[in-house]
Amino acid sequence: MRTPSQTVGPFYSIGLCRRTENTLVLPGDPNAVELQGMLLDGEGVPIVDGMIEICDGTRWGRSGTDTEGTFTFLLTKPTAVTGAPHFDVYVFARGLLRHQLTRIYFPDEQQANALDPVFGALEDARRATLVAAGQDGGLRFDIRMQGDRATVFFEH
């Protein structure tokens, strides 16, 4: 039997944010872009005690949310292994008894996204929740835990 999950609680940064780990590129990488997003609860209120981890199979990073509920990564688009380029994403927060799995796809990969076995299998209406948007030369990816525009979360 697996050890069950428990929430990270509000004080996770004591253990998990002792180092800056939100940079997935080498210094000076000309293709690096900033990906920023807000983590939002069922009433659209920013979650200020959340943490996001992203992974593309080669690179990994994490970012706590700040006092505005914002997380930030410096990254480049991954190379697609299967399907369209994407990051697998875990969401942690006070109030989340287990971390949740979602994905970030890229806005300039419409064709590849449509053919992606995971993205392509989603209802049309929900696909947009997994695609980052362009913003000031970088990328924007908000995560909504609940509601009509809730981000798609996967079993894991």
Binding site: M1, R2, T3, P4, S5, Q6, T7, V8, G9, P10, F11, Y12, S13, I14, G15, L16, R18, D41, G42, E43, V45, I47, D49, E53, C55, D56, G57, T58, W60, T82, G83, D88, Y90, F92, A93, R94, G95, L96, L97, R98, H99, Q100, L101, P117, V118, L122, M145, Q146, G147, A150, V152, F153, F154, E155, H156
Partner: protein, 241 residues
């Protein structure tokens, strides 16, 4: 005092197995944060990613001894917490990064949003990390954390616990959880602990006092093993492939 709308703690339900009930009503913060739509199934092979790999540089001197991170020793009951990290088939997880964080012995976290009016300890930060060895073993020295109130409901107190974060080999083996101490009288009142509805599964969150780990005239020892889910096909240990 106003009657609670929902019971803080629900009865045991073994059908949950190893899963925690993410929308557990007694834990108030779940209401606006737990996903309210069914999770979408993803074929396993599509997210059988390798997890991050951490080397020796991930860990520094005294990271695994929370009593030696300052000039003086923290107040409280000195303890040793040790155990093994394995997958469900019993394979040890080597070089797994384990990160811990906890309140001090007075039940106070060193954190800017902490509001409990218990004393900070200038000799205790409450954060640590280590890598498992070739048998999947980890070991921390720390002080026993205190219980503390948390405002979830009237007279809510958390049982003493240490937060654990573990990276397995596969991305899907990621675990964040809490380790509790045996026989804590607050167990029956705590919605976070009881959100694990299956009592057999809940028992896996509780460490055992172990006299073989205990060091005479020095520190009580607790043993707590951690079992991660199975990794993907590419994460089987080489000698078993």
């Amino acid at each position: 005092m106003q009657a609670e709308e929902t019971p803080v703690v629900l009865p045991d339900d073994p059908t949950f197995g190893t899963e925690v009930q993410v929308n557990y009503p007694g834990y108030r913060s779940t209401r606006l944060r737990a996903p309210d739509r069914p999770l979408v199934t993803m074929p396993e092979e599509l997210h059988a990613l390798q997890g991050p790999v951490f080397g020796e540089d991930a860990v520094q001197e005294a990271d695994d001894d929370l009593t030696r991170q300052h000039d003086g020793e923290p107040l409280g009951e000195r303890i040793i917490v040790t155990g093994r990290v394995t997958d469900e088939d019993g394979h040890p997880i080597r070089s797994a990064l384990i990160e811990v964080w906890q309140a001090n012995s007075a039940g106070r976290y060193r954190h800017s949003v902490e509001q409990h009016p218990a004393p900070l300890d200038p000799n205790f930060s409450g954060g640590g990390r280590c890598l498992t060895d070739d048998e999947g073993r980890y070991r921390f020295v720390t002080v026993k954390p205190g219980s503390y109130p948390w405002g979830n409901h009237a007279n809510a107190w958390r049982p003493a616990h240490i937060h654990f974060s573990v990276f397995g080999r596969a991305f899907t083996q990621r675990l964040v959880t809490q380790m509790y101490f045996p026989g804590d009288p607050l167990f029956r009142y705590d919605p976070i602990f009881n959100a694990v509805r299956d009592p057999r599964s809940r028992a896996l969150l509780v460490a055992e006092l172990d006299m073989a780990v205990t060091e005479p005239e020095w520190a009580l020892g607790f043993r707590w093993d951690i079992v991660l889910g199975r990794g993907g096909p590419d994460t089987t240990p080489l000698e078993d492939a």
